[in-house]
Symmetry: none
Subunit: 191 residues, 4 copies
Amino acid sequence: MVDEEARGPGRPRSERARQAVLAAALALAAEAGPAGLTMEAIARRAGVSKETLYRWWHSKIEVVLDAMVDRGQQTVPLPDTGTLAGDLRAFLHATADSLDLGTARLLQSLAAAAAADEDTAIAIRDRFLAARRAALGQLLQRAAGRGEIDPGRAGLALDFVYGSLWYRLIFRVGPVDHQWADDVAAAIAAM
Amino acid sequence: MVDEEARGPGRPRSERARQAVLAAALALAAEAGPAGLTMEAIARRAGVSKETLYRWWHSKIEVVLDAMVDRGQQTVPLPDTGTLAGDLRAFLHATADSLDLGTARLLQSLAAAAAADEDTAIAIRDRFLAARRAALGQLLQRAAGRGEIDPGRAGLALDFVYGSLWYRLIFRVGPVDHQWADDVAAAIAAM
Amino acid sequence: MVDEEARGPGRPRSERARQAVLAAALALAAEAGPAGLTMEAIARRAGVSKETLYRWWHSKIEVVLDAMVDRGQQTVPLPDTGTLAGDLRAFLHATADSLDLGTARLLQSLAAAAAADEDTAIAIRDRFLAARRAALGQLLQRAAGRGEIDPGRAGLALDFVYGSLWYRLIFRVGPVDHQWADDVAAAIAAM
Amino acid sequence: MVDEEARGPGRPRSERARQAVLAAALALAAEAGPAGLTMEAIARRAGVSKETLYRWWHSKIEVVLDAMVDRGQQTVPLPDTGTLAGDLRAFLHATADSLDLGTARLLQSLAAAAAADEDTAIAIRDRFLAARRAALGQLLQRAAGRGEIDPGRAGLALDFVYGSLWYRLIFRVGPVDHQWADDVAAAIAAM
DNA sequence: CGGTAAGCGAGACGGTACGTCTTGTCTTATT
DNA sequence: AATAAGACAAGACGTACCGTCTCGCTTACCG
């Protein structure tokens, strides 16, 4: 009883093609941003036919989401400093550090797709944002257990942290840097 | 004697065309959302040639921004209840109330465009977001004058309020309703 | 076992689209003349996308030339009456008879395109005029073999015959009818 | 009884504008050929408004025709050598000599316009070709008077001469040079 | 000498064709 | 059955020219 996937007849799906597509999607999103991220370009760059692309993914965002999951993009580790302020500071510093130019463009691609289509937004929320919210939520739960924060406000804190991050990323209202991380950590810890 | 405008020779710009374009852009953004908002569609709906459209606006977002400025979209009045919590509650309730489905789609169109292109983002920030931030900023300044809030945190409060709003709008993380308004008002007032 | 064509992978070219385009081009040229013959109109009429049109043809004239070759437009048969005068009379009568209003408009479309662009002119010359010149040239060679005409003048005779035909067609200097055919036949035979 | 034109009130037509338009049209036709000869370009180059252009001319060809008449373009002088062959040779050599590249492009512009529109063709025929035909016709009449040629064939000779010229010009079937002039002169004189 | 009228430049307007691009679907031969 | 190759219909993109239109300014005449 091996988990062989019970493959039927016919040519098996090409792992090579799958990898190439995922890599191409990430690279394009990071290099060219939302404008250059098209199904056509992904297929071209991956050396894969559009037919294959559309067979397995229905939109560029599915590709990107798959790629990020596959690459384990969500690797901001959960700190444990003993205090909410410390935990937040560490977590947000790591978050800010991960936001190089390419990553910013990738996230902007996600935001553009989410804003443009409700289904896409929900997919991104459930497959990408959820993990980040869960991680930060864990930090806040721990703090609530220590009495450092009102558990009823945990949800709003999530919105504040990630809301301000995306707000800055999308509308270029300000940088997402260590200053931001410190300020947000302090404000949330005092909530 | 004052609004002479010093018009030169040549046929004057058609106010009729301008109005029709602005109305068409707003209507399309509200009805069809980001997907249906194309230069072609705006021209068609406004009964205006593409030539004319491109003569005065270089992208759909410029049109929408002009339309919103022209329509005085930013009509959330500044309340004055005497306390920050009260002011915030009133302001955010009014904000939430203004977010009907059409308006939400319009804002999503803006967000999609901002995420996709830096110049567009900056234009939206300076021509649209700035007024909202200024209004809310005024409330916070007043509160800072009364000692209700640390003036150094006013900027972050702006990010939190509008960040959470856009975050919910874009990623459908939650509604922007009276519950949201109350929660945010309370949290910000306690900051 | 012979007409294998060695077709590679990929969806084969649509014969239906090709036929529709050729028919549309001929119909438009015959009905509307040079003015109505646009790539847009051909695509519209053929029920074909502009993409497809431009993939296979780079200009309206290529389409028309292909259509004429495909339709075997050059169907004036070579007569053999025994004398040059007889041959010419028969050939030119047939030529004049083929010049109904639609055909005239089609030829005018060709002339307009040839006059406007050298490459187009050469394409028309080599792909369309050449066959007519060859046919008439054969008649003249035969006559030269019988000693009826100076072989050195055959080239000029071609220019005279077709030159006068196009001259009349383009500048409306006179009709291309049986009178013309008789006059030209007599003059050339006497050369 | 002066030819004062009985000018009424109002600003008189600008001779400067008229000259500039005619010069621009000729220059454009000679430099850019049929493709570059647009009303827009003529107005631009002449420093004249499109309004003015359309007030006095209804199409680019009217402009070009006016320009050629104004410039006295038809200056091939009538030779008188005593024999038809001599006259023809001289006349056609002069004709060939006048056909530099710019002139050829100008004539091609005329041909393209004539082929594309019947009214235009008739205008060109009556205002431009007629003079050439008359000149050559005179030569032939003279020859007929001397018994050198059948007067009934004069019309056809005109078609042969100018037909072969335009045929070569339009379809690039061959050069219009001294060789052509000699060949045509000999053939026509022998008719 | 002041009024009237036409010409002019400038340039905006609705229309339409251009040639290119991306989308999502489809049809083949090959693996 | 999956692949690559690539054709296809649809339709938006931004540009160009068309012929018309409305302005303010200029340049004549005519009363």
